[in-house]
């Protein structure tokens, strides 16, 4: 059976040969136009005058549109129609598209854009959390509040109490392939859009709306993305709409790809968060009551900020049982890029909040942070004990965090190393080492319940080859291969017999974004459903032919066995075809057992949880704050893995990306509200040598108690959180400078500069 095998990525051989096609690699007909946006240079205000004369007369320019040319103005928002494709007079951030140019080359379009003369009437912009709060600039009427028990009373009653705050920055996705779309006009006013998107249906919907045609007039195709990470859930809308509209208007194919700097200036990033906490606990560090306040800068438009901020609240507990908790969340409207989905979708931010609290408690009690963690973990599920619930009242019935942490402590030699580090630090005045173990519990399902559905389309041809299609998109995570493994397993054939095809809104309609780690859970099940329909038809036909029951028809090893006769799968398919058996089927799946009231903060938003833990060891230079990850050990729960190699790839990559978020990846806006870090020269994602010197990743052995596809677990987002172990190991190293009396309170990203400041605070208090 091909499930559970470590097969390579379906496009591996195309990647290494350069044959794998991305949007900009698709051969285009001659006459294709190339688009570029002209961007706002101010953060807030109105456009006084817009002189595009020089743009129109620039070399190669075919068409220039601004708000004056578009009525009604199409909307690019994935949520509340608050993102006009082009500014209609109001300007909300530096980088907002104001006009669009179509030219005969990408370079000509880029050059023309710079010839615009725009004057503005500036208004005071809102940049910071404090500015937004004082102006009451926010999405939704007021803060969302979820609570359980009586946090206030528990805080008052607790033997120990601490307050604090942590800030964590946003994160640029830095998908290596920038945003791109190619629209090809069709007969009858229809359009085909090739889009680098995680959400083809959303592209279809937005383009149809902009063209004022039914969704059936727009076909969106996505073979693969050069990375997504959430950044292509909604951020591709503008390019698809612009290319489709101009293709429709001119009759010419239109392509748009953002130059890297434009991409970083225009598109949204991970939400930054400020989290304050008030926590009460006992002598062992067990939390009795906690009150969190989350503040997040959502940028100028709502986009997906509400569910992102919700998910941060839903992960405020991480793997810890909080008997009395109150979480208040402010979604602030600010004059920066509209923050958007990014791997973890707010979950990591919520988790960093509670991990900070645990670390703070440990310092206060002068205990190993791991003992405080253990004191607070949800108990591993035991039917004989009372079920614990989350702060949003979901029972935890699948917890394995204690077992995972026990095993990881052993395999990583945590205790011995922690002692060794302490004595090493005592002998080294300049360099200090630190170690930390952090857990993750991550909720799996879209919190918008209706998104938890998927469709598939499977054909078996008369030669036994299989055409596979589903609503999920491939952005590098290996979804296509995992799902193909499911299909091959259902038919008992070799993976090579399954043809993976591009995501296509004409094949599977009404799909959800490939997001929330749900890709293989949802699409794997839908494909299984479709395959089983066809398999059952073949089985029924052969059973009748051989005078037996369908149950006794077996599909294994490329063959079909029935009543002592063996057919190759191809022979069975041909026979079925000749006997007029339909060999094409759709499949469908909807996640069971979930319900959620996001206003009350009550219900069962998640089908199950994914667990894991990481231990990282770091060294810092107390003179400069420079630092390195020396070793990381991860034990992660992917259930019964559909493909261990691909899952380990997600864990390794997720960890490094998470560590990058918390260390070197710093977004800097200047006092005019302009992003200063808009290229890889200034925004630093991890490079090769930033991965841990020693990097051990293992999968937890255990299947998902929830009835998922082959009992596997989602693996896209949860491992991102393992990067937290680096932040807390850095905190541990910094603490070695001081006398243990003052908490390190390290903010993220913990750049060398941030670390040096924290080191100096420790030196001053010591």
């Amino acid at each position: 059976m091909s499930v559970a095998k470590s097969l390579p990525h379906d496009s591996g051989s195309l990647h290494v040969s350069g044959e794998a096609r991305y949007i900009d690699d698709i051969p285009t007909p001659s006459g294709t136009l190339h688009l570029a946006f002209g961007l706002s240079e101010i953060a807030c205000g109105t456009i006084d005058s817009l002189d595009l004369g020089a743009v129109r007369s620039a070399d190669g320019v075919v068409l220039v549109w601004s708000a004056a040319d578009l009525s009604p103005m199409p909307d690019a928002s994935p949520s509340v129609h608050d993102e006009p494709l082009l500014s209609t007079g109001e300007v909300h951030y530096v980088g907002q598209p104001i006009f669009v140019v179509a030219a005969d080359s990408h370079l000509a379009a880029r050059k023309a854009v710079r010839k615009a003369e725009i004057t503005y009437r500036k208004k005071l912009s809102i940049q910071t959390v404090e500015e937004a709060l004082s102006a009451d600039s926010r999405f939704e009427d007021g803060p969302r509040i979820y609570s359980k028990g009586d946090a206030k009373q528990a805080l008052d009653d607790a033997p120990h109490r601490l307050q604090g705050q942590i800030e964590m920055g946003g994160q640029e996705h830095f998908y290596l392939e920038g945003q791109a779309a190619l629209s090809i006009p069709q007969e009858g006013g229809e359009v085909v859009v090739h889009s680098s998107t995680q959400h083809p249906t959303e592209i279809q919907h937005k383009v149809a709306h902009a063209l004022n045609i039914p969704m059936h007039g727009v076909r969106v195709e996505t073979r693969r993305m050069g990375g997504g990470f959430g950044g292509k859930e909604s951020q591709g809308n503008a390019l698809a709409i612009a290319t489709a509209m101009i293709a429709s208007a001119t009759g010419k194919p239109c392509k748009m790809r953002y130059d890297r700097d434009d991409d970083m200036m225009i598109t949204g990033k991970r939400h930054d968060f400020q989290i304050t906490y008030d926590v009460g606990f006992d002598d062992t560090g067990r939390i009795q009551g906690i009150d969190f306040i989350h503040y997040t800068r959502c940028g100028w438009a709502q986009d997906l900020s509400l569910p992102v901020a919700d998910r941060a609240m839903l992960h405020a507990d991480n793997a810890y049982h909080l008997p009395n908790a109150r979480i208040e969340s402010h979604r602030l409207k600010t004059n920066i890029q509209s923050a958007t989905a990014y791997r973890g979708f707010g979950g990591p931010q919520g988790i960093i909040g509670i991990e900070r609290v645990i670390d703070h408690i440990a310092t206060h009690l002068k205990r190993d942070p791991l003992s405080v963690r253990r004191a607070n973990f949800y108990t591993d599920f035991d039917e004989t004990e009372d079920v614990q619930t989350t702060p949003y009242h979901q029972p935890i019935t699948d917890c394995v965090i204690n077992s995972i942490v026990d095993e990881l402590c052993e395999t990583s030699d945590y205790r011995t190393r922690r002692r060794a580090i302490q004595s090493w630090n005592a002998e080294n005045p300049i360099l200090k080492r630190g170690i930390a173990l952090t857990p993750v519990k991550f909720g799996i399902s879209f919190t918008l319940t209706h998104l938890n559905q998927a469709g598939a389309l499977v054909h078996v041809y008369q030669d036994g080859s299989i055409h596979l299609n589903h609503g999920g998109t491939e952005m590098g995570q290996g979804l296509f291969q995992k799902v193909a493994q499911v299909a091959a397993s259902r038919f008992g054939v070799d993976i090579d017999q399954v043809k993976i095809t591009a995501t296509d809104t004409a094949k599977v309609p009404n799909t959800s974004a490939t997001a929330a780690s749900s890709g293989s859970d949802l699409n794997g099940m839908a494909v299984q459903n479709a395959c089983d329909t066809i398999r059952d038809r073949i089985a029924e036909f052969l059973a009748e032919k051989h005078k037996t029951i369908p149950f006794d028809v077996l599909f294994e090893n490329g063959n079909v066995f029935v009543a002592g006769t063996t057919y190759s799968f191809a022979e069975a398919a041909k026979l079925a075809y000749e006997n007029r058996v339909s060999l094409s089927a759709t499949g469908f799946y909807k996640t069971p057992d979930i319900k959620w009231d996001r206003i009350k903060g009550e219900g069962q938003p998640f089908f199950y949880f994914a667990y894991g833990a990481a231990v990282s060891e770091v060294v810092i230079d107390t003179l400069t704050g420079e630092n390195r990850i020396l070793r990381t050990d991860i034990l992660h729960d992917a259930g019964a893995s559909l493909n261990p190699a691909l899952d380990i790839g997600q864990i390794e990559g997720g960890f490094v990306q998470g560590a990058g978020w918390l260390t070197t990846e710093e977004l800097v806006w200047d006092n005019r509200g302009q992003l200063r870090t808009h290229a890889p020269s200034t925004y630093k994602i991890p490079a090769c040598s930033d991965r841990p010197d020693v990097f051990n990743v293992a999968l937890w052995k255990g299947e998902n108690p929830a009835a998922t596809v082959y009992r596997s677990k989602a693996v896209g987002e949860p491992p991102f959180v393992h990067g937290a172990s680096v932040l807390l190991a850095l905190s541990d190293a910094i603490a070695a400078v001081g006398n243990g009396n003052e908490y390190v309170a390290l903010d993220a990203p913990a750049t060398a500069e941030t670390i040096l400041h924290a080191v100096n605070r420790q030196k001053q208090s010591a």
């Binding site: 991305y22 710079r114 704050g625 990559g653």
Partner: protein
């Protein structure tokens, strides 16, 4: 230039009237439909566009996004499409990357594969240094390094060897785009075209084109002037031609000033070092170029030339103020001389990311101790002012003083007299001053034998 000639994946190519500022990347993708080579950033920072170039000096990896077509004249270019063997055999690097799950989204993969294949072709195992210029956002690099180790030092396939003798080597120059073959020819041409742009490796000028969308006007490509690349020892010191690449400089200074070499190992990436020239790193006048502070700390002098007139000045006197250097129109940097001296140099490059990052500050110290006292001190920094410059107050605070903690503490305080740095996206002014001061402490601690290098610690 009206005509250039090079090998593309083994086949001779002649390009008539190449647009002089057309990048190889755009040409490959848009003219040749060779779309395997990717544009990730268009500024030489991500490596998705990495290709392999062979010329008489050997084989190296370069970024095609900031490489202009005329720079390729007489060379051999191999792209990812040129990796397979004559019978369609896959390259061992391709096999290893698939076997070790080294690609996820695949967009960076052609660049990685080219860096790895080039390393292998040069007899090296790809590692953190050779891959520092290739960014991957998906894998966390671990499987890529596993693939690199698997390939190891197995020989590069025979089909990867490029035969430069297939080229006629007929470059036809035009008046506005020159490719002088010597320093003399350059001097003559540049005197006539004093406003022209000189292009060494194009790692800086490339961005004028790809990011600033500037028109370069008259251009001279320096890579044909072989005498400008020479590095040799003279009686005064080590003389390095202005067009020597940073890779060549690194190799030349390694035996003499290992800390300089170690800092240059972190100078941009291998692809950039293979193109960037020392002359360019100096003459562009950047306050954050990494070679000037080291060279100033070594007391290097600069050889300038205009027409037949040559002059030599101390490098530290070349940088007048931000954006302004002591260089007349039509005058160019011909060479740099590092005087012979005992090695006391330590270079400390501080950046947000350790590898392949522009320095927030770069501090270079050369302090000689005789009989327990400081007998000479040369300290220079980049990133602390509008130009790379010396810390003379700090030097004076050290001179003739006993080499002890008290002296260091006093000298640290003098940094604020030498520098008033700015805050920007790389670092705050406060951090710049603080870490500059601490670098002096690091130098002292290192001299006392204390462990100060995080790279010497392992788990």
């Amino acid at each position: 230039m009206k005509q250039i000639e090079f090998l593309l994946n083994g086949n001779p190519i002649c390009v008539e009237n190449p647009t002089p500022d057309c990048t190889l990347l755009d040409w490959l993708r848009e003219t040749r439909n060779l779309t395997g080579t990717k544009e990730g950033c268009n500024e030489g920072d991500c490596g998705a566009c990495t290709i392999m170039v062979t010329d008489r000096d050997g084989t190296r990896a370069l970024n095609s996004c900031i490489l202009f077509l005329p720079q390729l004249h007489g060379k051999a270019v191999r792209t990812v499409e040129g990796l397979r063997g004559p019978e369609g055999e896959t390259h061992p690097v391709q096999d290893a990357m698939v076997a070790h799950h080294g690609s996820q989204c695949g967009f960076c993969t052609p660049g990685f594969v080219m860096s790895m294949a080039t390393a292998q072709h040069c007899g090296q195992e790809a590692d953190d240094d050779t891959l520092a210029g290739n960014l991957c956002r998906c894998t966390g690099y671990a499987p890529i390094i596993r693939a690199a180790k698997d390939v190891g030092q197995t020989p590069s396939p025979a089909w990867m060897a490029d035969d430069l003798s297939l080229l006629q080597q007929n470059a036809i120059e035009s008046d506005t785009v020159a490719r002088p073959k010597s320093s003399d020819a350059l001097a003559t041409w540049y005197e006539k075209h004093p406003t022209a742009t000189l292009i060494g490796g194009a790692t800086d000028v490339g961005l004028w084109v790809t990011k600033q969308l500037r028109d370069l006007g008259s251009i001279a490509f320096l890579n044909g002037a072989l005498d400008l690349k020479e590095i040799h020892k003279t009686e005064n010191g080590l003389q390095i031609g202005a067009a020597a690449t940073m890779t060549d400089v690194l190799n030349a200074v390694k035996p003499l000033y290992p800390s300089f070499a170690e800092m240059l190992r972190r100078f941009a990436s291998l692809q950039i070092r293979n193109a960037a020239t020392l002359g360019g790193n100096i003459a562009n006048g950047s306050p954050i170029g990494d070679s000037p502070p080291a060279l100033i700390a070594l007391g290097a002098s600069l050889h300038l030339r205009k027409g037949q007139t040559r002059r030599t000045i101390l490098l530290e006197d070349f940088f007048l103020e931000y954006g302004k250097q002591d260089r007349a129109p039509g005058e160019f940097v011909e060479a740099i001389t590092i005087p012979h001296q005992p090695d006391a140099l330590r270079c400390y490059k501080l950046s947000k990311r350790f590898d392949q990052d522009i320095s927030a500050i770069c501090g270079c110290f050369s302090i000689l101790i005789a009989e327990g006292r400081v007998s000479a001190a040369r300290i220079a920094f980049g990133g602390m002012a509008g130009t790379p410059c010396r810390a003379t107050h700090v030097e004076n605070a050290l001179l003739n003083q006993p080499w002890n903690a008290e002296t260091i503490a006093t000298a640290k305080a003098a940094f604020t007299k030498d520098y008033t740095p700015l805050s920007d996206m790389r670092a705050s002014a406060e951090y710049r001053i603080m870490s500059a001061q601490n670098m002096l402490e690091r130098y002292f601690s290192e001299s006392m034998g204390l462990p100060t290098d995080i790279h010497e610690v392992s788990a």
